[in-house]
Symmetry: C2
Subunit: 228 residues, 2 copies
DNA sequence: GCTTGTGAATTTCTTCACAGCT
DNA sequence: AGCTGTGAAGAAATTCACAAGC
């Protein structure tokens, strides 16, 4: 009777979907929980538990067949239904510096249903330039454009000092999610959700993990270690 | 008697250190667990529990003073001792496309003790170019350079199709950590640790979180929602 | 009054183990 | 034989609640 899906499960479901899609591209039709687990770096038990959430949802439907496995096609469809990949969310990119430009050239956003709908920069030399199919807009247009086009998610790719102020602006004009590349914690109204991409923190964790593993030898599992 | 520091705690300790450093820059001398908690988006209880790990470590030392708080200076020093920020780790950047170039221009890596020591690309037009202070090297130099300079961490900023092969190469020449920007799970030997920066998965989680929060109104806590 | 530190309770997530289907 | 689904056990992380210091 549990309607809520655990956070870690949501994440893994997305990984499964991507992996299974890739198997389909290669002509595979069935997949077992242990196959999938190996590819994603997760125990087969965990895979089955995660996939069991599909069956609990009316629309996603049941899937596994004992002795056989899961049908790839149905599986990705089911996961996407459950985990909401059906909707498209447009993005507003704020900051067209190095990271911003990299994001504009990053085709996957589009392909995955997250089109960048507009790009803004404070730098006058940047404003008006065309980058790919975007024309960089001045910050003065930010509210207007986001409101008019009802863009739900903002990407902050600006220097740390500017991030909080722009986050405030974005929240004020109705954004409900932020993808934050600035190395700081943003403070936002309670209805807004922030996802941080924090490169230096990630690197620090990585090096800490490396340092720790050197000290603690013997682990029986033999595949891979993963951090998000 | 617990020598091991929980993963989530390591992450938060890094966030605390950064935040406290910023307070120092602004002239602050003391900080309380609730101050710090507010800034990082964590309950004060949690902050204290996390900081208690400092006292358990001989070298990091004890810190909090009841009724007063923590001394900012000593705190960052203590955290950095505990969480290993003293060591420098050099990086090998593999792939000088959009993301790769953005990383080369990203000053924080250097400042935080993670200098990019070399950059490689498979594209002949790229090889030999100077970008900032780096000269892009051909992939044929990859093993030589990494072995010679004993670079411990590789950054994979290459297309998905190339990622696994290059990961294999990097692991073969002694890298012990990988920062992977390719949208896939890498398979690596057990002693190598992988940290993934997965933009589309992050976006999918973000949009799922947004969708969920719309459905479940009343939560009593009022600050921010954070995902890594 | 405001603060830290911490055992105990609680919640969340993972792993185990096995019944049951193909 | 090989596989799924799941209750039960276990482990990990968070939150509570309160004694004790300033």
């Amino acid at each position: 009777m549990d309607r809520v899906i655990p956070k870690p499960t949501v994440k893994r479901l997305n990984l499964y979907a991507r992996e299974v899609q890739r198997m389909i591209d290669v002509g595979q039709q069935k997949v077992s929980s242990s196959d999938l687990g190996n590819r994603v770096g997760v125990k087969s038990n965990q895979v089955r538990k995660d996939l069991a959430y599909l069956a609990r949802d009316e629309v996603a439907g049941d899937h596994g067949r004992a002795g056989i496995g899961y049908d790839c096609e149905r599986l990705v469809v089911g996961i996407e239904k459950l985990v909401g990949a059906q909707k498209r969310w447009s993005l507003a990119l704020v900051g067209v510096g190095n990271i911003g430009r990299a994001l504009l050239s990053y085709a996957s956003f589009d392909e995955e249903g997250y089109p960048i709908a507009a790009a803004f920069d404070a730098n006058e030399k940047m404003v008006g330039k065309r980058i790919g199919r975007w024309e960089v807009q001045p910050m003065t247009q930010l509210s207007r454009t986001i409101k008019a086009r009802r863009i739900p998610i903002g990407i902050l790719a600006v220097p740390r000092e500017a991030a909080q102020g722009l986050a405030d602006q974005l929240c004020a004009v109705g954004v409900v999610g932020l993808l934050n590349f600035a190395p700081m914690q943003l403070t936002v109204p309670p209805h807004v959700i922030v996802a941080n991409i924090d490169l230096t923190i990630t690197l620090k964790q990585l090096s800490m993990d490396i340092a720790l593993k050197s000290g603690s030898g013997r682990s029986s599992h033999r595949r891979r270690k993963e951090r998000s």
